[in-house]
């Protein structure tokens, strides 16, 4: 306590130093006067009295010094002094400071941004108390056979399973259920305008079990689940965007698919729900009404969440503390095995067994697989950029400190300790790095936002304490690296030498000139590696972009709509026909069609159909087929060539003869010799496990060209196109519009037409078909763009670094060049003198860089598309780039060397 108080006072002592100096002076003076008076009283002469008093007091200056040290914190004081001095020095050369800080900011910012992605995707836990206890429940082998499942069938369960598992209180302190209201978003209206939002139905213990805190209001109770109450909890971000954080949002009514719910709470900031990688806008308790079915499935019997055959519930559990995952699974699996078959009958002995498992809530599991490697490679790339940046700043500092060698020597000669000088330069590099880190942090904020936007992850890549620690760690290593490196040279220079030599022929030793070249060479080698990497990624991206899609993709607009107020197939057919009729005549629309699974969205419908009553035999990879529901003018609108037969037309209605189009691959696979036209395709419906029945024959009336379905890099697959109206039930449909001009210009018209049909209908995800296809390789695009960005930075850094070094060396050799020219050297020879140096450095860099680049490219194999890791063009371009940079950076110094006037140069001596 005493010590703390003393420190407190001493820290304060740093300020108001002048005043307290004066005060101590006054105290000394009063001391002397008192003493002298005493002495006079005891009979001394004034002279002797004063002398005695001074002797008794001891060395006044010494006392003052001890007093000063005691008053403040000498260590901190010199630190402040160093800081002030360093600031002054940096201010004196603003150009140097600016370049150094910007360079560091780019390096640190890039690393921080990429690390923040890695943090979110691979490391971060849900922002909830004790997140390590939370686990997702999953079925690695998939659910039992003969069920209706969702797209996430390896982590969806039936209601009986949830009911059985949630009673296992020895394992789970809470087991929470959640299921989305739609694959994507649902129609929500709180005022006049309908819009889309992502919503989940959740069990009553969802918020309490997870430990979600609330910014406003409350969460759900168990009664909300059992009574299916009409209440809704909003996420903080939805509350912000939709209600402007107004407290009056509580109690308001919002309509979810037309059903009114009243807002009872807003979750705390930073909670985006538990669905990996996406952000949930609102939550409602489990409902049991047809409009609000899980996954927005058709309101048929299976779609209610209570049906044992509809495995649609996702589960997240909080393990009881102390229970290990394997113990928990040991207890849960028997319960699961019996609950799984409630309402399904006894399982067939041969049927595959599904096993319960846990999957981690750390990071984003779905993205982990695809992103882990790319992120590591990206991190390596930005690491290289940072290394180049550090080397650059380090060289700048070396050059600067060399110019300051005289200053250092003078200071050493005057008795400054080398430790003191070391601290001084460390302080300067600390200031540079601190500036770089602060600006880099700002870069990282916008950078990670841009990364999040282009990666399709809805959760912001938050810069949390882990990211901050990372940034601090790399910053500190920066300080150490180039705070010490240049200094060692500066303080190891013998004092006498620097002071004796003139400015122009200042001390220069061979070793340090070699180390300078080595730094530039390794920088160029790093740059070469980066360029090879970006070259490969860019060529991959080109391959994605130039893949033939099999359709005319430009000029297409696609959007969805969910007519939740129409239910029967008759109403639905009418609704879509009506919509199509109106859209066809809208200004700017060339033609229009419908499609149930949007092309390029990654979603598709896979199954197996019987051909002419015969079910194809073989593994799914060979006989598996894709299918889509399409509207009239499908081929015409999308620009898919019709090879034989006809397009879907308006005449293919619900009551017309059932027809289907197939693609070329289908025709070739199943009718290698004959003609597919006229044959029948039959749905295989599974009435019970293992027994199949054939129903609903569709006649093949057209063979059309292969086109891309789910993503651009897929291989052609046998595909069937059914007229949407001939399906029962009619699925929800997306609209494709073809126009001559900019597809997005059609949107206002589309909006008006939809509003005319039903004011509650929002336009779902309107975008050009091109953009939709682009999404299927967004990762490749993202990484290619980033690598170009980092490559350009690296090139710029290396160019400035090389230029700086060469310019500096030419500057120092001015007098030498002058002598050479005076002795008759030609311009060409002088030019060669400078160029030779940079060429030598480049050759060394290439020799060192190419093998590493080859090894590095191999690591990237999984990220490449249609390019071999040893791609010659990428390597040649990178080599060319590096040499170009070397030449460009040498041109100005070389020209300057050439223009050296011997007379002026010699006069420097």
């Amino acid at each position: 306590m005493k010590a703390v108080r003393a420190w407190f006072h001493r820290s304060f002592g740093l300020f108001g130093k002048r005043r307290s100096d004066a005060e101590f002076e006054a105290e000394m003076e009063s001391h002397l006067r008192l003493h002298i008076e005493d002495n006079l009283r005891s009979g001394m002469t004034p002279e002797a009295a004063r002398r005695d008093a001074l002797i008794k007091l001891g060395g006044v200056e010494q006392t003052k010094e001890t007093y000063r040290d005691r008053r403040g914190l000498p260590f901190l004081e010199t630190l402040l002094q160093d800081l002030r001095f360093a600031l002054r020095m940096l201010r004196k050369s603003p150009g140097f400071t600016f370049v150094a800080i910007l360079t560091l900011a780019l390096g640190i910012g890039g690393n921080t941004a990429v690390f923040s992605v890695m943090n979110t995707v691979l490391l971060r836990y849900l922002p909830l108390p004790n997140p390590q206890q939370l686990v997702f429940l999953s079925l690695p082998n998939g659910p039992p056979e003969g069920l209706s499942t969702t797209g996430d069938d390896d982590k969806s369960f039936s209601y009986p399973v949830f009911e059985a598992l949630r009673k296992e209180h020895a394992v789970f302190s809470d087991l929470m259920a959640y299921m989305p209201l739609a694959v994507d978003k649902v129609a929500v209206r709180s005022g006049e305008d309908p819009e889309e939002a992502e919503g989940d139905m959740v069990s009553g213990n969802f918020f309490s079990g997870l430990g979600v805190s609330f910014a406003r209001g409350r969460g759900f109770a168990l009664e909300d689940e059992t009574a299916h109450t009409s209440v809704v909890v909003l996420s903080y971000s939805y509350w912000t965007t939709r209600f402007g954080r107004s407290p009056s949002a509580i109690g308001q009514t919002i309509y979810v698919k037309g059903v009114p719910f009243s807002v009872i709470g807003v979750t705390a900031q930073g909670f985006y729900g538990v669905e990996p990688g996406s952000s949930t806008d609102f939550w409602i308790p489990l409902q049991n009404r047809p409009e609000l079915s899980a996954w927005g499935e058709e309101p048929s019997l299976i779609a209610f969440y209570g049906s044992p055959k509809w495995w649609c519930i996702q589960l997240i559990g909080r393990l009881v503390p102390g229970v290990t995952e394997s113990q928990a699974l040991g207890k849960l699996d028997p319960v699961f095995q019996s609950a799984a078959f409630i309402g399904l009958g006894t399982p067939e002995p041969k049927a595959k067994k599904s096993n319960l498992a846990f999957s981690s809530t750390q990071g984003i599991q779905d993205l982990r697989e695809g992103y882990e490697k790319p992120i590591q490679i990206l991190l390596a790339m930005v690491g290289l950029v940072l290394a180049i940046a550090c080397a650059n700043v380090s060289m700048l500092l070396v050059a600067r400190n060399a110019a300051r060698a005289r200053e250092f020597s003078v200071r050493i000669a005057l008795g400054a300790g080398r430790g003191r000088l070391l601290r001084q330069t460390l302080t300067e590099s600390f200031l540079l790095v601190a500036g770089g880190a602060v600006i880099g942090w700002m870069f990282a904020i916008s950078g990670s936002q841009a990364l999040a936007a282009s990666s399709g992850v809805e959760i912001p890549f938050e810069l949390d304490s882990r990211v901050l620690l990372f940034t601090l760690a790399i910053s500190i290593s920066c300080v150490l690296v180039f705070g010490l490196a240049p200094l060692r040279r500066a303080v190891s220079v013998p004092v006498g030498v620097t002071l004796k030599t003139s400015n122009a022929t200042a001390y220069r030793d061979q070793k340090s000139s070699w180390s300078g070249k080595a730094v530039v060479a390794s920088q160029m080698a790093l740059c070469l590696i980066l360029l090879v990497g970006s070259g490969l990624l860019v060529r991959s991206l080109r391959n994605y972009q130039t893949l033939p899609l099999g359709l005319r993709v430009d000029g297409l607009l696609v959007f969805g709509t969910d007519p939740f107020s129409v239910h029967s197939d008759e109403e639905k057919e009418h609704f879509y026909q009506n919509l199509l009729t109106r859209l066809r005549v809208a200004p700017g629309v060339e033609s229009a069609t419908l499609i149930s699974h949007r092309l390029g969205s990654g979603w598709g419908w896979n199954s197996v159909w019987a051909i002419d009553g015969v079910e194809p035999q073989g593994p799914f990879s060979e006989i598996g087929m894709s299918a889509n529901h399409v509207g009239p003018d499908f081929c015409h609108t999308l620009g898919i060539p019709i090879l034989r037969g006809r397009d879907v037309t308006d005449a293919d209605t619900r009551f017309a003869p059932k027809v289907v189009l197939v693609n070329e691959t289908f025709s070739k696979r199943f009718f290698p010799k004959g003609d597919a036209l006229g044959h029948t395709v039959t749905t295989i419906s599974s009435t019970s496990v293992g027994k199949h029945k054939l129903e609903n024959g569709f006649t093949i009336v057209g063979v059309i060209g292969d086109s891309k379905y789910k993503r651009v890099d897929e291989k052609p697959k046998p595909t069937l196109y059914f007229p949407f109206a001939q399906q029962t039930p009619i699925p929800n449909i997306q609209v494709e519009l073809r126009t001559h001009g900019n597809p997005e210009a059609l949107l206002p018209n589309v909006h008006a037409i939809l509003h005319g049909l039903d004011p509650n209908l929002p336009i779902q995800k309107p975008m050009t078909q091109r953009a939709q296809f682009d999404e299927s390789y967004s990762q490749a695009r993202l990484f290619a763009r980033l690598s170009i960005f980092f490559g350009v930075i690296a090139v710029l850094l290396v160019a400035t670094g090389l230029y700086g070094t060469l310019a500096y060396r030419v500057g120092r050799r001015t007098s030498e060049i002058g002598v050479r020219m005076a002795l008759g050297a030609q311009h060409g020879q002088v030019l060669w003198l400078v160029l030779r140096e940079s060429l030598l450095v480049s050759v060394a860099a290439i020799l060192a860089g190419v093998p590493v680049a080859i090894a590095g490219a191999r690591l990237m194999r999984s990220m490449l598309f249609g390019v071999q890791p040893g791609d010659r063009i990428s390597f040649l371009l990178a080599l060319f780039g590096v040499i170009l940079v070397a030449l460009a950076a040498s041109i100005i110094p070389a020209r300057r060397a050439m223009r050296v006037d011997p007379i002026t140069a010699l006069r420097y001596e």
């Binding site: 105290e27 008192l34 006392t63």
Partner: protein
Amino acid sequence: MNDKADVWQGTLALMILKTLETLGPLHGYGIARRIEQISGGVLSLNYGTVYPALLKLEQEGSIESQWGVSDNNRKAKYYKLTRVGHKQLERETQDWQQAQMILAKFLSATEPST
């Protein structure tokens, strides 16, 4: 030649505190004077060393200071004991006495008691 003892490390603070307790508020010169007098001229004290010690005590909160006027109408900085200082003095006096006692016993035990 060195027949005057130097001030032992750490004891100066205790002497200052004791002086202030006995004499009440006093200036630096007075304190230095008093310490020298009490020691009967055995201690050699550079008066100047009192001041850093005073500053330390003040920073630790054992004493506080104020400018005042001396008996013979001179401006001087006066120091006085705080409550913390009283306690510190009490504690350190005890510690010191204990240490002294132990040392005295130790030194007087001339023969091994077998």
